[in-house]
Amino acid sequence: MEGMQNATLLPILTDPQLMAAGRPARSDLLPPWLSSDTRALVYGPPGIGKSFLALGIAWAVASGTSFLGWRAPRPRRVLYLDGEMGAAELGDRLALFGQLPGNLAIVPHDRPGGARLDLGTEDGIVRLMAGWNDPQLLVLDTLSALAPAARADRDHERRDALHCLLLHLKQTRRAVLMVDHTAKNGAAGRASAADLVMALRPAASAAAGGNARFEIHFEKTRQRVPLFPIAAELQTTDGAGAWRWDAACRVDRLAALVRQGLSRRDVCEALGIERSWFFRLKAEARTRGLLPPKGPSRSGTSRGGTS
């Protein structure tokens, strides 16, 4: 039997060996959905706000702050590769949110003196890796612009190169957020390359143009509990931007999950919220009658006849 195992040359590990194997630790970048080896894809129709969403995620991860209720545990190095907007438009958008975090590096496609990156080629990948800031999150906005032929599956060699890069990022525990347009059939063009897919759909009351306003639907995840849709909107006042998201919708969902008997931790994970939000939303659910009123506190109950 031992001889057979040796003959296969497959590194079959026993349970203790598997547990002891020196795997690089996986860490959370933006729990519950973005960790250090996530290959996430955001897709949606043109103009819906994909880049605004990607910038918001990049900003939160780089600065260790919150975004749409998700909180980055600590600041991480982020590299944002722009393939469509250009420096001027990027500057306008970033100006809405204040001073750029030190950990957030941005490469506009039209930067002076820089040839356009094509991540479907060896040259493009080598230039990227030779010049990057060892990012823990790489944002590709958009995949169609940064790896055009690979995106369209027209060129196998370019697709090989892009897959090679994505595999390398995963092995080195670097997260990647790919932004892409909706394919002609309405689906995500590169969903097979991602282990998490977020579809952006127009919000019910969305008007044409104006600020970003959409619903985020998690179509593919590896989470233990489902991630519910979120409605989000970017509001701008006096040159400053602020995101609003659907706390109200979450009250209903939280109430449903609590009624199902899920633990506080599981509810927080399912809704992608912090613990403090759990209590706020639960109180709101009680106010609305979605959950029974709070019972008497333990300190007020008689226990063991101590009175």
């Binding site: 990948i125 080598v126 890796m129 196998h156 090989d160 190169a161 090679c164 390398h168």
Partner: protein
């Protein structure tokens, strides 16, 4: 169409991109010399193309490992 002169033919060992290119050139010459049919050459050419992609991917992978190692060295991290 004239009958083929059926003979064994040799292609270079395809160890790198240059030798794959050389093999493709040899195939074209064999067709021109009427030693193999164009359709046969096309099938072999497809095999060579797969080989070329595999070599290109392997080369890129090695290059990425090198760049990663250089980066770690510059940052003063352990190899």
């Amino acid at each position: 169409m004239s009958a083929l002169k059926r003979e064994a033919f040799e292609l270079p060992d395809t160890n790198d991109i240059d030798s794959v290119n050389q093999a493709q050139v040899t195939l074209i010459r064999l067709v021109a010399q009427n030693q193999i049919r164009a359709s046969e050459a096309l099938k072999i050419s497809r095999m060579l193309e797969h080989r070329r992609r595999a070599i290109a991917t392997g080369t890129l992978w090695e290059k990425m490992q090198e760049l990663e190692a250089q980066g770690r060295q510059m940052r003063g991290e352990e190899p």
